[in-house]
């Protein structure tokens, strides 16, 4: 996941690298997503997340589009 100065620079980067645009979040959205995603990573009890738990974290962050679907 890369950091851009603004939306316009993402378009330039995608065009120059011939890549499709993925999902774009504001820095504040990513900050809020980081909190439930990472808060307990140093705990002995953290053994990863089930797909259901991942889906719940995304849902709580308002990420409900197909991009965030957990099924492969």
């Amino acid at each position: 996941m890369l950091l851009f100065r603004s939306e316009e620079w993402i378009d330039k980067w995608c065009q120059r690298n011939n890549l499709e645009r993925g999902e774009v979040l504001t820095i504040n959205q990513v900050w809020e997503l980081s909190k439930p995603w990472y808060y307990n990573r140093l705990s002995l009890d953290y053994h990863g997340r089930s797909m259901e738990q991942v889906a719940e974290v995304f849902k709580q962050a308002g990420l409900v589009s197909k991009f965030w679907y957990i099924q492969r």
Binding site: L3, R5, G22, I27, V30, Y38, H47
Partner: protein
């Protein structure tokens, strides 16, 4: 046969070693810490890699990523607890202060425009500390691009 209790103790050791030293433990360090053979420690590292607990370099039991920490320098540098860490990506640079439960100053490079930006995490809030030559720069304009849908993140972790 993998000892599940030991497996998660190794994961815990790796992450806390990263937090304490900014670097992952080698497989030899893990073997010494748990008083097991290098072969056993290597097998546990591989199992944790297979379970996506961390990510090994190709063909060797050396840790490249233990999210949000990176074992190699990147464009996402995080200063916290009087140490300097490297994050794997723009999401992980925000994950490091969360993992450490600490304030942080983040130095990152914008992709494409190639400018350095400094962000500050303080008391659970994020602020733009410095961006060169940018009258139009604002925290609200910054964006993080997720190139692949979640279902494909583990296909190519370096690209993701």
């Amino acid at each position: 046969m993998i000892n599940d209790s030991l497996l998660w103790q190794v994961r815990h050791f790796v992450y806390n070693h990263f937090a304490d030293t900014t670097l992952p433990p080698s497989v030899d360090e893990a073997a010494r810490h748990f008083n097991i053979s290098t072969e056993e420690a290597s097998a546990l590292y591989k199992e944790l890699h297979n379970r996506h607990a961390f990510f090994l370099e190709p063909d060797m039991p050396s840790i490249r990523m233990a999210w949000p920490f990176s074992a190699i320098p990147t464009d996402f540098k995080v200063h916290a607890n009087d140490k300097t860490y490297y994050a794997n990506c723009a999401w992980d640079m925000l994950g490091i202060p969360v993992v450490l439960h600490a304030d942080a100053v983040i130095e990152a490079r914008f992709t494409e425009s190639n400018e350095l930006v400094q962000l500050e995490i303080k008391n659970g809030n994020i602020a733009l500390a410095a961006v060169p030559g940018g009258e139009d720069a604002a925290l609200s304009k910054l964006r993080v691009h997720f190139p692949l849908p979640f279902a494909r993140w583990y296909d190519d972790l370096v690209f993701t």
